[in-house]
């Protein structure tokens, strides 16, 4: 059975083999993705083309390895593709290319795109009277993009109660702590002011996340998930450096041991 711990180990293994960056950004996402894919969403390998499925967009595309692991554990992405992540001749790039595997609802990497795409999907579901929900995961750095707020404003104007914005608020962006860069400490209040039904949750508490995701409202919903960048790995937790950490053999072993002991 898939567990958050297993997903973290997958992330570390992909990072170790590829020497690619953004591991801290993936590690903060794990419980969010676990609660969505394994506890909440109407989504499975059999449903990747079902128009009634719930759609999940990972707009913070640099957290891709967490999503690749989840889709692999769901039997959608092959082991072979996971093995060759971010390597010459592989299929899965660091930032998401939706043509590289089934189950990827949108390409992502350039920040601030997923919310608008998700709003378009939510509008389409309304037009066709489909029941599927749209979940878009953004980062707390990402929401500095004005385009996210263009999408948020439209979602509330159009009363898209089938649209959920999830913020992986790990507090750190590429160069610094996010609240130091742009102060967003009152994010859920801002989203409420924009017409969302917004709440704050512990982003590493699977039960709390699941309850928040399952809660419906007559408004679009937003969940500000407070997370720790690099969660589970002692030398990465809550560091700006974890955006760039490259796992040597030694660090990989230490990281695996940290996660095992979580």
């Amino acid at each position: 059975m898939t567990t958050p711990k297993q997903i973290r180990k997958d992330i570390l293994t992909m990072g170790w083999k590829s020497k690619a960056s953004h591991l801290g950004s993936a590690l903060s996402l794990v419980e969010i993705l676990y609660a969505l894919y394994f506890q909440t969403a109407n989504f499975s390998k059999e449903k990747v083309h079902d128009p009634e499925r719930d759609k999940i967009i990972l707009s913070k595309g640099h957290g891709s390895v967490a999503l690749y692991s989840v889709l692999n554990r769901l039997g959608i992405i092959s082991d072979e593709d996971i093995e060759s992540y971010s390597q010459n001749g592989g299929r899965l790039p660091c930032h998401i290319d939706m043509t590289s595997a089934e189950g990827l609802e949108a390409s992502a990497g350039s920040l601030g795109h997923g919310a608008g795409i998700g709003v378009g999907m939510a509008l389409a579901n309304k037009m066709d009277a489909r029941t599927g929900r749209i979940f878009v995961i953004v980062g707390d750095g990402e929401i500095q993009e004005g385009s996210v707020w263009e999408a948020v404003a439209l979602a509330s104007t159009q009363k898209l109660d089938n649209f959920t914005l999830i913020v992986d608020f790990n507090g750190i962006q590429a160069s610094d702590f996010s609240n130091k860069t742009i102060d967003q400490r009152n994010l859920s209040e801002r989203l409420t002011a924009f017409g969302f039904d917004a709440c704050d949750v512990d982003g590493h508490d699977v039960d709390a996340l699941t309850a928040a995701f399952k809660r419906r409202s007559d408004k679009p919903t937003a969940i500000v998930a407070h997370t720790v960048k690099g969660k589970g790995v002692s030398f990465m937790e809550n560091t700006v450096q974890s955006h760039y950490t490259k796992l040597t053999d030694e660090l990989y072993e230490k990281a695996l041991a940290d996660v095992e002991g979580m």
């Binding site: 795109h113 378009g120 389409a124 385009s147 404003a153």
Partner: protein, 294 residues
């Protein structure tokens, strides 16, 4: 021409429930015909061009056929990166419709003029680029666009000088030869099509025999036609109300250059400078030597 687009799309929408319009607050009095009949498929998303394109991509990923409508700079450049990723890279069935070709919004000032759109749209893989020269072309391009499940940019004008393309069949990707000639071919796109006819009259007085060709599809360019002219040793002139950097003239030049055969070639268009001229379309075109009717 923009009314023909709106009316044609409205007619098509009666047969195809997936057609919808997304606009960042443009099209007042033009798109009304669509909005009145299909309010549930008309989305004014506010003055937010980036979001307009992303929302359209989301609609397209859900099987809809969205047309994003605005003035050229706002539907091609303000949101270029969204077009690059959400439309071209993701290969979504989004149609971008830019109104106000060249200096048609001349008096509005440079911010509203559409003079680099063909270049920036042409450089994107997957993107089909059409530029209608008259009302028949826009009607045909609009009709055919519904059947093409790919990203597409459609450049349309505001005004209309009449019908110039009388070809029985107007087909996306295939240039229309509107006047047969011998020694020189005038290849025009979009709102320079009338100008090419004017220029042809001047040449005829000098004893030359010009072809007049409408290149209403700038990408994929009709290589076959260009190479045929090159083989015949015909001089080629291109006409566009657009910068000469990267648009029709460049596209034709690329084909000629790689043919390995030299012919005489000239681009008529806007040189690589900003217009700071104040005045209407005709006046500004005059400053760049792009009126041939005198």
């Amino acid at each position: 021409m923009r009314m023909v687009f709106a009316e044609t799309l409205t007619k098509l929408a009666r047969e195809d429930k997936d057609i919808c319009i997304v606009t960042p607050d443009m099209g007042y009095s033009i798109l009304d015909v669509f909005e009145k009949e299909f309010p549930e498929r008309f989305f004014n998303v506010g003055i937010a061009e980036q979001n307009a394109v992303s929302v359209a991509a989301g609609l397209a990923l859900s099987g809809k056929k969205p047309y994003v409508y605005s003035i050229i700079p706002f539907v091609t450049m303000r949101c270029f990166e969204q077009i690059r990723v959400d439309v071209a890279y993701m290969n979504t069935n989004v149609k971008l419709v830019g109104v106000g070709a060249g200096f048609e919004y001349g008096s509005a000032g440079y911010t509203h003029q559409g003079v680099e759109d063909l270049s920036v749209m042409r450089c994107l893989p997957n993107m089909i680029v059409c530029a209608a020269g008259d009302n028949r072309e826009i009607e045909e391009i609009t009709k055919q666009s519904v059947q093409i499940n790919k990203p597409m940019y459609i450049r349309i004008g505001r005004h209309n000088r009449g019908i110039f393309n009388h070809c029985e069949e107007i087909k996306i990707g295939k240039a229309s030869v509107l006047q047969q000639g011998e020694d020189i071919a005038l290849i025009a796109t979009s709102n320079m099509l009338p100008g090419a006819f004017d220029y042809a009259e001047k040449l005829k007085k000098q004893g030359r025999k010009p072809y007049v060709i409408s290149m209403h599809t700038v990408k994929p360019i009709d290589k076959e036609l260009i190479l045929d002219l090159v083989d015949k040793g015909v001089e080629i002139n291109t006409f566009e109300e657009h910068t000469i950097v990267g648009g029709l003239g460049t596209a034709v030049a690329e084909v000629i250059a790689e043919s390995g055969k030299g012919i005489k070639f000239k681009r008529f268009g806007i040189p690589d400078v900003f217009s700071h001229y104040v005045g209407n379309q005709y006046y500004i075109k005059d400053q760049f030597g792009l009126n041939f009717d005198k």
